[in-house]
């Protein structure tokens, strides 16, 4: 039995504690926005937030989630697809096939949580997800556009 707080909702799930968080999200909670691609924590498609920080959920046993920790998935990033990153992604048509994009958006969102004005080098270091379609340049532009929007929002 695992107790999880996901996207603000408490869940109790009957699952073996060694099950990776990814598969609990996808198969027990039906949150399939978080993707399986490599299963060894190096491609980033499974990125979610635990207490606001990006983690790769495919190698994180659900038992390692501590009581009180808060998990956010792509489905919970905003209530209406309106997070500045989501808005920028739509404005720039960032996704191609789209499979890796939830992970990329979550990695970028965690970066912006910590660093509201990241440099290109910061982006390189923190949004190092694999995208085989090759959306990287629009990903970078999308992050910068979201930052611009957030700054504008604050100063307004």
């Amino acid at each position: 039995m695992a107790k999880l707080k996901v996207n603000g909702q408490e869940h109790e799930v009957e699952v073996d504690g060694s099950t990776p968080l990814l598969w609990v999200l996808r198969e027990q909670l039906g949150l399939t926005g978080t993707k399986y691609a490599c299963g060894i924590g190096i491609c980033g498609s499974c990125t979610v937030h635990v207490d606001g920080k990006a983690v790769r959920s495919c190698t994180l046993p659900v038992s390692s989630i501590e009581a009180g920790q808060s998990i956010t998935t792509i489905e919970g990033l905003s209530p209406d697809n309106s997070h500045p990153l989501q808005a920028a992604w739509k404005a720039l048509d960032v996704p191609q096939c789209g499979y890796c994009q939830p992970g990329i958006i979550m990695a970028a969102a965690a970066l912006l949580n910590e660093n509201p004005d990241p440099s290109d080098a910061d982006i390189d270091a923190r949004v190092d997800n694999i995208c085989r379609c090759g959306t990287f340049n629009r990903v970078r532009r999308g992050i910068h556009q979201a930052v611009k929007h957030m700054k504008g929002g604050r100063s307004a």
């Binding site: 073996d16 099950t19 990776p20 598969w23 996808r26 198969e27 027990q28 039906g30 949150l31 399939t32 926005g33 978080t34 993707k35 399986y36 691609a37 490599c38 299963g39 060894i40 190096i42 491609c43 498609s45 998935t73 792509i74 489905e75 990033l77 905003s78 697809n81 990153l85 989501q86 992604w89 739509k90 048509d93 960032v94 996704p95 191609q96 096939c97 789209g98 499979y99 890796c100 994009q101 939830p102 958006i105 982006i123 390189d124 270091a125 949004v127 190092d128 997800n129 694999i130 995208c131 085989r132 379609c133 090759g134 959306t135 990287f136 340049n137 629009r138 990903v139 970078r140």
Partner: protein, 738 residues
Amino acid sequence: MSRERIDVGRREFLISTCKVAGLGTAFSLGLHLPLTATARSRGWGDEQPSDGLPEVNAWVVIEPDDTVIIRIARSEMGQGTLTGLAQMVAEELECDWDKVITEYPTPGENIARDEVWRSFSTGGSQGIRGSHSYVRKGGAVAREMLLQAAADEWDVPKGECRAANSVIIHAPSGRTTTYGKVAAAAAELFPPLHVELKDPKDWKLIGKPVARLDTADKTNGKQVFGADLQLEGMLNAAIRACPVFGGKLESYDAAKIEGMPGVRKVVQVGDDAVAVIADTWWQAHTALQKLPIVWDKGPNATVGSADIDRMLEAGLSSDDKVFVGNSNGDVQSALKSAAQTVEATYSYPYQNHATMEPMNATAVWSEDKCEVWCPTQNGTAALEAAAEAADLPISKCDVYKIHLGGGFGRRGAFHDYVTQAVLIARQMPGTPIKLLWSREEDMTHGHYHPVTKCRLTGALDEDGNLTGLHARISGQSILAAVRPQWMGEDGSDPITFQGFHKDGDHAISYTVPNLLVEHAMRNPHVPPGFWRGVNINQNAIYMECFVDELAHAAGKDPLEFRRRLMADHPKSLAVLNAVAERAGWGKPAGGGIHRGLAVVKTFASYVAACAEVSVSQEGKLSIHRIVAATDPGYAVNPQQIEAQVEGSFVYGLSALLYGGCTVKDGTVQETNFHDYPSMRIDEMPEVETIVMPSGGFWGGIGEPTIAVAAPAVLNAIYAATGKRIREFPLRNADLRPA
């Protein structure tokens, strides 16, 4: 191009009399998933099948509120074809673009309706160039029927009515109505005998950088991929097939795992695989790891990369199974009389498609029907695979297509994952079962980019002009393994010569007075497949790097050297000149940055690139900027062309830098992204895309640019280091300046 008069044939008649066959609704589950991404993003229900609504024709269904549903037969896998094809239908339809949504018809419906949607195959960069005419016609026919319905209602001549933005106006009386109001009446009409397609200069929507129709659900997790599918009562399967190609399953000990959590059944799949069916995929996967399996590894159990390399090496100088792909003049004489000859041998390794979404399919089987939900580049081929595995007639099966989490050629000609899913489902009748491959299964059971080598010999005269070129390719034929029916009568594989052809979609970009291009077919046991770009990827490296070698040997500037061979290839020359000019070729780049060029014609498009790189004293490569030009004839959606061009560099350069599958004991050794890496954002160069459609022809977009990525970078590396790298991937090469 002027207005095109198109006869409306038998298919359109069938459309109007047949209406929606609604095959899907006759099935037990009858789920249309995901029907329309855009429908949901606009706040409608998850399933909004158009079945039951009157269709104007096969391509167009209009709802009373003026929502226009455009049916798309080709598959969306990121390349944007869904939006591009919808633009083309909408252009002629004269509908309100803001109210357009899309849906996939099923391949079963297509067969039941005499293939009204024609080809479902989504490969060879054919999505738009292979269907532009009939999808525009589909829009035009629907428009004429809608106009006729309004004219009938008003009792006026149709010629006095016109349409724009889904509104029909009768100018003499000032009356107006909307498509939604007359769609039901239009659906009852016979289609017109002839329609005229617009002159391209009158296009309003084709050529505009409109936003994709499928983006919103890809930013909030709502887009359902095949791997995400959840059906009522569904179980999950994990599979392992014999790691050696050509091997078989000998035995397995199901008793060892049958008591594990969630495990329902352990089943043999065909003659070479075993699957575990469990409540969840993680349970199935976990149990499968613990399943004792004995393989009969078959005749290829000891083959390694060195064996394959020797086989190809021998083909470089053999007379056995050698086919000529292009020739003119007398190469041997040119080589004999040359002032200087240059020779080089290049090799290109196996590549895995490595789609981000591993192979998967969901199937439910009973004695009288079989349904499959899957990502596929070819719904018809998926249906054929399903029917065969189901041992049922095609009319009792159907396939529901789902957007792909990457295709790149892996999910077009090969539906091994569909076959497996149905074979598994047959062993649990009535229960939907989702089969999902692990990444490791995906990496080791691909249909790989083929291996070839190429020895090139060039003849230069005293003035440094190219007088002769002999290219001997040795290696694997895709067609021999995948499409033997497409091979020449002599057993040759014409697509091996992609980029070397005398003319056509993949013609050579140069005029060489004495030319001989040959292929010694050598087919190792590792299964080859169509990998985005296919054979142009390595052929462009061979040709464009060797032309660079020849230019340097001749003491010529690589741009000038090429130009002298391109007088009869003006469109290729135009894209080459465009990138050279934009990049500032001939002027120093500064900062240790060096440039390299490449140009090809492929998939009927003309593309060129100029790469700017630097290489540190330690041999670290940085790719700073790439200027790319493409002339696809017509540019349907320029911003999506830019996206495809940028993405092509990631796919092409990932292969160059890191790709390469090696073989040991008959088995592919690379199992995941740790040993088969892919480019990441920190390596991504700035890309400047020049879209320069010259009109009059239709070229592809999704693949061509990949071909110029590697040679442009390799030529720039030579400029920076004086090193010619002829074996790949580059991660194995020492790039420290010579």
